[in-house]
Symmetry: C2
């Protein structure tokens, strides 16, 4: 076996051409086996095996700087830079992250998880190199739909202006997460069809040099193409055609379903826990399916309803079947979050009823569009914000902790936090039913990221535009209150029960809204005898919901507020329960806090 003997790029360079196919097979095997056990980005990593081997044979990493866009396609790179064990030894599967990580290796230059940054990063590295009079190579591997992201355009556009040696390897596997969307991908298709010779070459139009390589799995061709570009003095694109999932039949057959998967059976490709789009009859299963089912019925009844996604349709339950069923009422704009918000804002202003479903971590890419195109224009967009939770993605590159601070300061935005499936649908239904003629503004809903909870006893409102607090329990003589936001409502319930067991009765409140607090209602609680307020939020407490409660009550000498939430930190592959314990977010800890707080 070759792979286990490879401690670094020198060992890769030392191998004979003849042994490379075997090495690639071993790498593929390791990608498949490790992903089968712990899940992973199978399709994109299988596509770049030969490319990555060639890169490490031609360039001298880490002196030459190889950076990966999105970086979820870095498995082979990690295997070839001293981290093969993490893919070969089941006990070591969790030792490395799924993205480039400077903390792991000098061969990783940036922690990257959001797309379209490689060109800009390459420009910066090249500029620093040239200022210092150094002469290393800067190589950016771009792919998996990154080209539709405006940031990539900005980087490529600037590369041409700046000049100097930069190599952009465009790994064209014809797929984003979902199918590629955007005119640029038609240009790539035309370039593939013409062997790179067609007129109106996107890369050349920006002023970049361009080469095309048809078979991105031909090791010899890859090595010679890259060797020709080594030391080049101009920003140059090498367009390489690869196959997503190459070498693994199940992944080749279903590129979308195998972009990222949970554990599966390596032999059959049967998925243990289906991460791919569900069937239509599974709405009870999770909020994604609940959303997709609801929206599809709504679309059938109302032509104005349009579901908009930015390359992650599955989070709102729009797998291939529902997309097909929705027809022109479903739009996936591809990886272009800023555009998705601007586009949805215009749809709303022109009389449509757009529902944009997006991960909170990616929504960070559209903050100004939320501010201006949506909020300043009072566009009645419905924004479904997913994955904002300690239970969401645990990679430092994809944390959904910062949505409340980000959305909290957007004027005119109503950011709702449902506590259960019923309340979620009630809020979503209200948002789509509003009379927009009366100047209804944007509404965002923080879709619970924890397991689906049913609470038929929740108290619906006819109008959520400025919701009152839902005081669910108000025991006689209670001197403490828990304001439990969104999917932490259950935690609040348990904590209240626990506190009561300790002898401290607690008022239990579902705040309903994340970005604003009704000052008078809080004051009324204080007037009613509540001395201690504890806020619970499944997000960064710094700049979050609790601080707004604290500010609202800060003028009263009598009232104390303790704000509990997630830390302002880039936790990496955290254990949710451990984080909750550390932050005092367990029923027992909260109950003790209240009980001792009242005994002061």
């Amino acid at each position: 076996m070759y792979l286990e003997k490879i401690k670094g790029p020198d060992d890769v360079k030392a191998l004979s051409e003849e042994s490379l196919p075997a090495l690639c097979d071993e790498i593929r095997r390791a990608v498949i086996d490790s992903s089968a056990a712990v899940g992973g980005h199978v399709g994109s990593n299988l596509a770049v095996v030969e490319l990555t081997v060639a890169l490490h044979r031609v360039f001298d990493s880490p002196t030459d700087k190889i950076i990966f866009d999105v970086s979820h396609q870095c498995y082979a790179h990690k295997m070839l830079t001293g981290r093969a064990d993490a893919f070969l030894d089941p006990r070591a599967y969790e030792d490395v992250s799924g993205f480039t990580n400077p903390g792991e290796s000098a061969h990783d230059h940036f922690a990257v998880g959001h797309t379209s940054t490689a060109a800009g990063l390459a420009c910066g590295l090249a500029k620093a190199r040239d200022l210092a009079g150094a002469d290393y190579n800067v190589v950016a591997v771009i792919g998996d739909g990154s080209l539709s992201g405006g940031l990539e355009f900005e980087g490529l556009d600037w590369a041409a202006e700046q000049g100097g040696g930069m190599i952009f390897v465009v790994n064209d596997n014809e797929w984003s997460i979902a199918p590629d969307a955007g005119g640029i991908y038609r240009n790539l298709a035309e370039l593939r069809a013409t062997g790179g010779a067609c007129r109106d070459n996107y890369f050349r139009s920006l002023g970049l040099d361009y080469r095309y390589l048809e078979d991105g799995h031909d090791m010899v061709a890859l090595e010679s193409a890259l060797a020709e570009l080594r030391g080049c003095g101009r920003p140059t694109v090498l367009h390489v055609h690869t196959q997503k999932g190459h070498g693994y039949a199940p992944a080749e057959a279903d590129p979308e379903g195998w972009h990222h998967v949970g554990p599966f059976d390596a032999a059959s490709g049967e998925k243990r826990r289906c991460a791919a789009p569900h069937a239509l009859d599974e709405e009870e299963r999770d909020y994604a399916q609940l959303t997709g089912g609801f929206l599809l019925r709504r679309m059938a009844a109302d032509r104005r309803v349009v579901a908009v996604s930015a390359a992650t349709p599955y989070i709102m339950g729009f797998g291939p079947e529902r997309r097909e069923a929705a027809g022109d009422q479903f739009v996936d704009v591809g990886i272009a979050e800023g555009h998705a918000v601007t586009y949805a804002s215009a749809l709303a202003k022109a009389g449509a009823r757009p529902v944009l479903g997006i991960y909170g971590t990616f929504l960070q890419r559209a903050f100004d569009q939320l501010m201006h195109d949506m909020a300043l224009n009072d566009a009645p967009v419905t924004l479904l914000v997913f994955g904002c939770s300690v239970f969401g993605t645990s990679d430092a590159t994809h944390l959904g902790f910062f949505d409340i601070p980000m959305l909290g300061c957007v004027p005119g935005l109503t950011y709702l936090a449902p506590t259960c499936a019923e309340e979620y649908l009630s809020m979503l239904d209200w948002s789509l039913s509003r009379d927009v003629e009366k100047g209804a503004g944007p509404v965002a809903i923080r879709v619970p990221a924890a397991a689906l909870v049913n609470r038929p006893s929740f108290r619906p409102l006819a109008d959520y535009s400025d919701p009152s607090l839902d005081v669910v329990r108000r025991p006689e003589g209670a001197r403490a209150a828990i304001l439990a936001l969104g999917d932490f409502y259950c935690l609040g319930e348990d904590a209240a029960r626990e506190a009561s067991r300790l002898g401290s009765e607690v008022v239990l409140v579902n705040p309903r809204r994340a970005n604003k607090v009704p000052v008078e209602e809080l004051a009324a609680l204080a007037d009613g005898g509540v001395e201690l307020f504890v806020t619970l939020e499944d997000g960064c407490a710094d700049g979050g919901f609790g601080e707004r409660v604290a500010a609202a009550l800060a003028g009263r000498a009598g009232a104390r507020v303790v704000t509990l939430g997630l830390p302002k930190a880039f936790l990496d592959r955290h254990d949710a329960d451990e984080v909750l314990r550390e932050q005092g977010l367990t029923p027992q800890a909260i109950a003790r806090l209240i009980h001792s707080g009242l005994s002061d």
Copy 2:
């Protein structure tokens, strides 16, 4: 005179071809005279006079939807849609805003002030039109450097994918605010040079149809070109070559200096208050010159120092002379804020010392890049944040109120708020002098937007990475404290003096840092007898500095906190003093608040 008789587009259509040159002259005169009195975007508006007249003769606004990118070039549009008086009658000069404003007219569809949104907005309008089975024209006027913005790329890229009738008029005046930067502009130059016939056409590469018009001031040619596109079924670009400042010699001669100007003498073109880059010897004048002078000296001493701008070099004092003097150590990436942050982050990681100067309102476009490329990667970037103040730009489209909520939740970022010129330079010097080997993270400095203040008595720190509170005054037995952040320090000083006059002694604190508060130091103040804390910040109080103080003290029954700052609202052309009065941000109001608060 024609202009004063024009009440709407029908009147423009009714005019004979022969009378149009006179109409255009009148529009130019009105642009110049009104701007001479109150300031305005002279250059870009003079460039689109004929184009705008042609648009309103060919299309039926508001049924046909004409939208302007950035929209600061909408003066002629406003004059032709019932708002000519606001440009002809000095008493009415302030009646309309300098940007499209749906509140003013049905002919304005969006409030727009940040660039690169028009293509995406057009896609949304067209999609809503097609869903509704309507058939109006959607026309987006794109220009003034907007094409380098990634959001514009995302919109154009999507337009090609979506298809359907959309007309993109690319108003190519060869300038952004500063000279155009980016490969795309070389493509435009090549298209101009070849009459639109060159081989690699950026717009065609995305799948858009394309036409070229060489003389953007030829009314007949403009009308016939636009008439041919009316009702077109495909997204089509009309590339129109115009001259920035056309028809006004001073503006033609200095496109950068006349992009936006304050009041000037119409006859001579002499500026009353110079808004263009200052001479090198005026560092005392304002923070822009102070910054430019400091950085230029620093660059001369250290090759690693690089100033980075995103099309607004003048805010950091880099007019043509200093840009020339800085050579390759000054970089203007053009209108591409996301790229500017990603680029600066890579520069910093690769050993350079980037200083990115940017308006807070535009920094909103780079939130995710701040989060990931900069903060997650612990990149020692120095960020200079300008214009964040009630005294900054007063247009709803350019408010700098939301920087503290936005930057407040970025992990690992140190956001400093200097109170005077000396403290600003002390913080900037420290940030550039840090030993980055020891893992120094990003630093942002909130550059005061009010007039330059000297306070030689300020107390510098050797290390601002986690600064203590600067307790400037601590009178015996004081029961109240004012925490006066950044450029509101002077307000705090005056308020403390006023409160003392009322008989309430006040502790005066310069917090130094905007996004974090030292809990123990605040507790110590409370232990020392302070019952009432008043926070002052020149930014949105919701999610801001004061709420962090409130949260830090919320656990103490004894301590009360009142957070004063700017409202969470899109104020439009506000009067700063009026806003301050409304928010209780006057020395008298603050003093009364404290005095009565202590008497409770």
